[in-house]
């Protein structure tokens, strides 16, 4: 547990962080989010004393940090920053081993640990002897995460860890990090300016406003359903009604229609036979959906070029947001739902979704309770 008790930081008399009280629970990921200049990074850096608080106390598992030796304190806390901050003169494996070596682990064990961690963060062992400049931004960021983990710290601080990479890589890194955190269960404080990232990754989200004040601390779902005030509501965003569906799982008992399908190479007659309202779903041999085909436009056997790829797929273990999006994006108006292994489970018509979403809307009434 990391706890802020009445922590204030003044720069030339102006507060960057004002009287912050916050608990980051053990084994959970707490996200500090807010507009630039809200003091979120300053708050993060006060934990490992890269910034010294003007007043107040920060404790690690009840132990005040201001009484610890500063180097020892920092070695107990993994730290990940925006541009990874790798050592340019050390190979990938050496970079990762750095924190283990600082923690007093011998060279051989540290190296073994670093190779294990590279695998854990999804990097091939062939990269171990490369230098940082030979890696892509996303790969560097993974090395940064592995380096923070190599001393097996109980606590981690992450300062905009995924902001410097492109959106696709960012999504991958986020997903993988979530999976990793489920295994390792570190006590983490992460800073981001991106509310979507905060809602996606945080077990708990602390929204800060300009002037270094805490506006609200809540679970992502609560933040969407019951924002504490206008500032939080604005910051969380206008489409919060839609987004909170992202926290509602798809009901296992969801009634799906069975969808007749054809495979690539099917003749126009076969396609027309299987089609409903002019659209037929095309699957591969393993019964995984490939895309919809408009039979009116078919001039011969179904080819890949005939596939309409606009629709998203909703996995059964996904969220109601994915289900609604699958239906909205489907040219046939029927949302495709897959099993966890990617095979077709069935479809649901957009019109039938209203009845399924209605009970969820009632939770919105909690706002007024």
């Amino acid at each position: 547990m990391i706890e802020f008790q009445g922590v204030t930081k003044l720069y030339d008399g102006a507060p960057a962080v004002r009287n912050l009280d916050l608990v980051a629970p053990t084994g959970k990921l707490t996200v500090l989010v807010g507009p630039s200049g809200c003091g979120k990074t300053t708050s993060l850096r006060m934990v490992n004393r890269l910034v010294t608080p003007s007043s107040g106390t920060i404790t690690l598992d009840g132990e005040p940090t201001d009484r610890m030796n500063v180097a020892q304190l920092r070695r107990r806390i993994g730290y990940v920053i925006q541009h990874a901050g790798l050592f340019p003169h050390r190979t990938v494996a050496q970079n990762v081993a750095t924190t283990a070596r600082l923690a007093g682990i011998d060279r051989k064990t540290a190296r073994r640990k670093s190779l294990d961690l590279l695998e854990q963060v999804g990097l091939s062992a062939s990269l171990a002897e490369r230098y940082p400049w030979q890696l892509s931004g996303g790969q560097q960021q993974r090395v940064g995460v592995a380096r923070a983990l190599a001393s097996d710290p109980k606590f981690m601080l992450m300062d905009e860890p995924f902001s410097a990479v492109d959106p696709i890589v960012r999504g991958q890194l986020q997903d993988e990090f979530l999976r990793l955190q489920r295994e390792i269960g570190k006590t983490i404080i992460m800073v981001t300016h991106d509310i979507d990232e905060a809602l996606k990754l945080g077990d708990q989200v602390a929204v800060m406003r300009e002037g270094g004040e805490l506006a609200q601390v809540a679970t992502p779902r609560e933040l969407l359903v019951r924002p504490a005030d206008g500032f939080v509501a604005d910051f969380v965003g206008r489409d919060r009604g839609y987004r909170h569906l992202g926290f509602a799982p798809i009901d296992n008992g969801l009634k799906l229609a069975s969808e007749p399908v054809v495979q690539l190479g099917a003749s126009p007659a076969e396609a027309a036979e299987a089609a409903i309202d002019g659209w037929v779903l095309v699957c591969d041999a393993a019964h995984r959906p490939l895309g919809w085909t408009d039979i009116a436009r078919l001039r011969g056997p179904v080819r890949e070029d005939d596939l309409n790829l606009s629709s998203t797929l909703a996995p059964m273990d996904g969220s109601m947001r994915e289900l609604l999006d699958a239906a909205l994006s489907s040219p046939s108006g029927r949302g495709v739902v897959t099993n966890t292994d990617g095979t077709l489970r069935g479809t649901i018509a957009l019109g039938d979704l209203g009845g399924i979403l209605a009970p969820l809307h009632r939770t919105g009434a909690e706002r007024h309770s």
Partner: protein
Amino acid sequence: MNFDWLWRESDMIFDLFVRHLWLSAVPVAIGLALALPLGWLVHRSGVWRGPLLNLVGLLFTIPSLALFVLLPWFLGTQILDPINVVVALTIYVLALLVRTVSDGLGSVPRETLQAANAMGYRPLSRLLTVELPLAIPVIAGGLRVALVSNISIVSVAALVGTRQLGSLFTQGLQLQFLTPIIAGIVLSVALAAALDALVLFLSRKLTPWERRPA
């Protein structure tokens, strides 16, 4: 060119060559050893960095002959003592390398330093294992300039009687004889090229992480 003369005097020329090597290399070694802590101090001196570097740079403008003549008076040495030359050249090396070391330490990326601090590096081990290695390419660049300029300046010491390749120039002038002058120039250039290549080679060996065209 009188090759008979070269052949006859080869022992003497070789002796001058070795002295030239020592007189120019030893000050670089001493200067580097002094410039590392001084450059670090200047690097850490905040607003004083600029003025301090200008001050140190001014040392380079003292005429070498003046130094060779004045130093015995300061050091209490004999005018013929090679210590004078070593001290004078060390001063020039310092004038170049203090700035180089300070620049080299300043070239270390901010995120790298921040990451090192956040991981719990103590200041001395951060300096020795992170900052200095990363400053090597810049420091090596300064070292090459210092070596080559020393090899050229040291020959002036022949005027105050310290023997090295420069003595071939004074000898040639006195005897109105071109051969020793040409031999002195060729050997000086060869020495400079060899030492320059050596530093370049060592610096590359020490910095395998540097990106360079294959």
